[in-house]
């Protein structure tokens, strides 16, 4: 250890380290997306379709007109929330893949509580508030349960949250096909519709429902929570090294369960907006895979709540363009899923690149033995 070099910290290097890390976090996912696009093009060529047509259609369908942009944003609303539902537990070191279940159960709870509220003519804003609250509480409890099982019973949270999803969907089906079934819903068992008067409208001047705004607000709030508050700091400590967090006397169990509850609230809220803004009732349409796409989005966003927003919009656009692609190119629905699958695999592979690309590494002080 040399005293001469040790004391002097070259403060000019400091922004560099941050900038390099930021550039790396931007560069790697972009390359992954590019590689995915190339692989998907190969896939298209194999099935005899033109990649150029495909990507230009996705562009047209996703961002080509003000209508399609609004469609994309609309579709991204549940994706933002589902992405947050994966990203927040990921920061504390948990892989929670059960947002789908919390979304479905939250949406169902909102639709169920709406039935008496609508019947008694409670004013719409109050109804929405109660619906949103019950959706968040339900989702929060659901994912919180996975966190609790993890910390206090040692149950793997990935497995438990996945299985809880199936239970959640089964619970919804049980009620929707039974006690809470609207007799008028002949072909598709559903709860009683909340009616147009109780639909959440669009953000003024657009066709995008308020769920999009809620997603952005939550993303910003959670970003601040994770990066600028003691809670976020403690959660990152726990996620990075649970033993160190314990040795600092942090309430590790409480932090883990709290992060899971936050995640569940996000997913539950997504379910609320699906019911209150899109479907108007709870039925099998709630099981749309948003929760699972959210995992992909969170990964691409490196579990950064702010980055979840643009990534979710991108996936919203791909989803919005799906119909157009299907009609114009005569390709099945599942094509978009193939693209998503390719992106996911490439993305997971690209994770190993972090810290290996020389360009993004700060110069090492040479202090290695």
């Amino acid at each position: 250890m040399s005293a001469e070099t040790a004391g002097s910290i070259p403060s000019t290097h400091t922004p560099n380290v941050r900038m390099l890390k930021f550039a790396e976090a931007l560069f790697v996912p972009l390359v992954a997306l590019l590689v995915s696009a190339v692989l998907f093009s190969l896939f298209l060529l194999i099935i005899g379709k033109s990649p150029v047509d495909f990507f230009s259609l996705v562009w047209t369908g996703g961002f080509g007109s003000s209508f399609s942009i609004q469609q994309s944003l609309q579709r991204s609303a549940p994706l933002i929330l589902a992405g947050l539902a994966f990203a927040i537990p990921a920061r504390i070191g948990l892989t929670i893949i059960g947002a789908e279940g919390a979304l479905v159960l939250g949406g169902f709870a909102a639709a169920a509580i709406a039935i008496p509220l609508v019947t008694f003519g409670i004013p719409a804003p109050l109804t929405w508030l109660l619906m949103a609250l019950i959706a968040m509480v339900t989702g929060g409890v659901w994912i919180g349960l996975a966190g609790w099982l993890r910390h206090y019973r040692g149950v793997n949270e990935t497995i438990s949250s996945l299985l809880l999803s199936y239970i959640a969907i089964a619970i919804m089906n049980f009620f929707v096909e039974g006690a809470l079934r609207d007799p008028a819903s002949a072909n598709k068992p559903s709860t009683m519709p909340i009616g147009d008067a109780y639909r959440i409208g669009s953000i003024p001047g657009t066709d995008v429902h308020w769920g999009f705004a809620a997603g952005i607000v939550l993303a910003i709030a959670l970003y601040i929570l994770m990066s600028r508050t003691t809670f976020g700091f403690a959660a990152r400590m726990t996620g990075g090294n649970v033993r160190a967090a314990q040795a600092q006397g942090l309430p590790v169990g409480l932090l883990i369960v709290s992060c899971c509850v936050i995640a569940g609230c996000c997913a539950g809220l997504a379910g609320f907006f699906e019911v209150a803004a899109i479907h108007g009732q709870a039925n099998a349409s709630l099981v749309a895979g948003y929760g699972f796409t959210g995992i992909l989005i969170a990964f691409l966003a490196r579990h950064n709540p702010l980055a979840v927003v643009p990534v979710a919009i991108l996936f919203g656009a791909i989803a919005a363009a799906g119909g157009l692609v299907q009609r114009r190119m005569g390709m099945p629905d599942a094509t978009v899923l193939v693209l998503q699958g390719i992106i996911f695999v490439v993305l997971l592979t690209s994770d190993t690149l972090y810290g290996r690309l020389k360009f993004f590494q700060p110069p090492v002080g040479g202090d290695r033995t």
Binding site: T229, P251, P362, G366
Partner: protein, 509 residues
């Protein structure tokens, strides 16, 4: 595979003009080292001196920018570790590279490059027994590696090299996981084999005692340059240490001051704890630590010391008993750590006291992030004060890092420990819990860290020092307690006991 190796086959190795440049850093600058056949050569140097870079360049992990390696006088080209292996150069790492769930025999056989896809165990066992007969030391071949002691595992690592016929051995601090007895035994055996010209050994070490006792030649590196070499028997420790640390002032070792204040601060009252399977790991631990006193807990690794530290740090629940600080019951949680000014230096700081991916500045803030000036209202954090404090601590404790924003995992072991020290000792300390603070650190860091622990004692802190290094306990402690089989079997003032008595209690007598 020729299991029975003939005698007198120790190779000599000469590396000339080795140079390795990483970006702006010259990690190795024109270093030459010559290890004659059958010698036991020590490679000395501080953390970051370039020892690892040198051996990794010889082993083919790095390709040196300049330099050549001669084996038995003939120049060889080693581009990958596989080449090194083919030339009979093998390495024993600081940490074990054995598969714990396999037996010793299985570990040996699978280590072979030509291990067959279908193994004829009867034949292999016979060959292995014959091989073992020729060896000066034995390891039970059918024992699962996980059940072997650290000393036996290290022996097995060396047997593995001999089995693979790698007769130039590079050992990277091979004794850091061993008890003093095990270390002496192993080094003695290696020394005997070298003397018989069966092997040649190049050993990276920090411990002058071992170098003086077992090595014949030595080479010293400092900041990537060769600063000296010679005969380990005729050179004095002072000379070698001067070559290692140069003219850098090592912080003056704090002298022990006398205290009249004999307040009892920390009391462990009948502590019991179990592991995950419900097996008792601690039973009835009773110990008192006064203000201004260091109580050293000695013991062979694995006798419950780490469980005790975990209980005190809140990483493990106790099933019975109480911790009392200033006669108050103490639960190890954050508010109490602050209230009673309890601080800790756990062993393996990168694993137990830091978050490797968080920055140095953030790691330095673990104690302070939820208090002013970093946090206002108890939850809102300001990066400015956090950073400012980090810069002060980095300077004060001489933590060598490229930037406060660099992840702490990019620092060397000594600097990680310095950073943890800076965090834990910069405040007002009443109770300090220390576990193996100098494990794997270099000479200068060790002296520095020990004197800081002594300073805390002199300032009136009650210090509990858990250490597997008896020398450390004899140097620092006012009283010594011995742990054996999960309980404390012996307590004595340091003046009233000696190494032999402590050693007997460590061994369970």
């Amino acid at each position: 595979m020729n299991a029975v190796a003939p005698m007198g086959r120790a190779p000599s190795l000469e590396a000339t003009g080795m140079t390795k440049i990483f970006g702006p850093l010259v990690a190795l600058d024109d270093v030459s080292i010559s290890v004659p056949a059958g010698s036991f050569h020590a490679l000395l140097g501080e953390n970051g001196a370039g020892k690892s870079t040198l051996v990794k360049s010889i082993m083919g992990f790095y390709s040196p920018d300049k330099g050549s390696v001669k084996l038995d006088g003939k120049e060889v080209s080693i581009k990958t570790p596989k080449d090194a292996r083919a030339h009979g150069i093998g390495m024993v790492y600081q940490h074990f590279t054995l598969v714990p769930c396999l037996t010793a025999a299985e570990n040996l056989v699978i280590s072979r490059a030509d291990a067959p896809s279908v193994i004829d165990w009867r034949k292999e066992k016979k060959a292995l027994s014959e091989f073992m007969e020729t060896m000066p030391f034995k390891v039970p071949l059918d024992a699962q590696v996980a059940t072997l002691s650290a000393g036996e595992k290290q022996k097995l690592e060396i047997l593995k090299l001999l089995y693979l016929d790698q007769r130039f051995m590079i050992l990277d601090e091979p004794t850091s996981v061993l008890t003093p007895g095990e270390a002496d035994e192993m080094l003695g055996l290696l020394g005997d084999m070298a003397a018989k010209k069966e092997i040649t050994v190049l050993m990276i070490s920090h411990k002058f005692r071992e170098v003086k006792a077992f090595c014949d030649g030595f080479t010293v590196l400092r900041r990537g340059k060769l600063t000296g070499s010679g005969d380990a028997q005729s050179a004095s420790i002072a000379e070698m240490s001067r070559m290692m640390i140069g003219d850098t002032e090592v912080r003056e070792r704090a002298a022990r001051t006398q205290h009249n204040d004999k307040r009892e601060v920390l009391e462990l009252a009948g502590i019991f704890a179990e592991d995950a399977e419900g097996t008792p790991v601690l039973s009835s631990i009773n110990l008192k630590v006064n203000a201004g006193e260091i109580v050293g807990i000695a013991g062979v690794s694995g006798n419950g010391q780490s469980a005790l530290v975990e209980v005190l740090a809140g990483q493990r629940a106790m099933s019975d008993g109480a911790i009392r600080i200033q006669a108050q019951n103490f639960a190890p949680k954050r508010s109490n750590f602050d209230r009673y000014k309890v601080f800790g230096l756990p062993e393996e700081p990168l694993k137990n006291a830091t978050v490797p991916r968080m920055s140095v500045a953030e790691n330095l803030a673990f104690r302070a992030f939820d208090k002013p000036p970093v946090a206002s209202l108890g939850w809102w954090m300001s990066p400015g004060p956090l950073r400012k404090r980090a810069e002060e601590l980095i300077k004060l404790y001489r933590v060598k890092t490229t930037s406060p924003d660099a992840p702490i995992e990019t620092l060397s072991g000594g600097n990680v420990q310095r950073a943890v020290l800076a965090r834990e000792l910069s405040g007002d300390v009443d109770v300090l819990i220390v576990a193996n603070p100098c494990f794997g650190l270099d000479f200068a860091s060790v002296a520095d860290i020990r004197s800081q622990i002594m300073e805390q004692r002199n300032r009136g802190a009650a210090v509990l020092l858990v250490s597997e290094d008896l020398d450390e306990i004899l140097e620092l402690a006012d009283r010594v307690a011995v742990m054996s089989g999960g309980t404390i079997t012996y307590v004595a003032a340091i003046q009233e006991t000696d190494r032999n008595v402590i050693g007997q209690h460590m061994a369970g007598h």
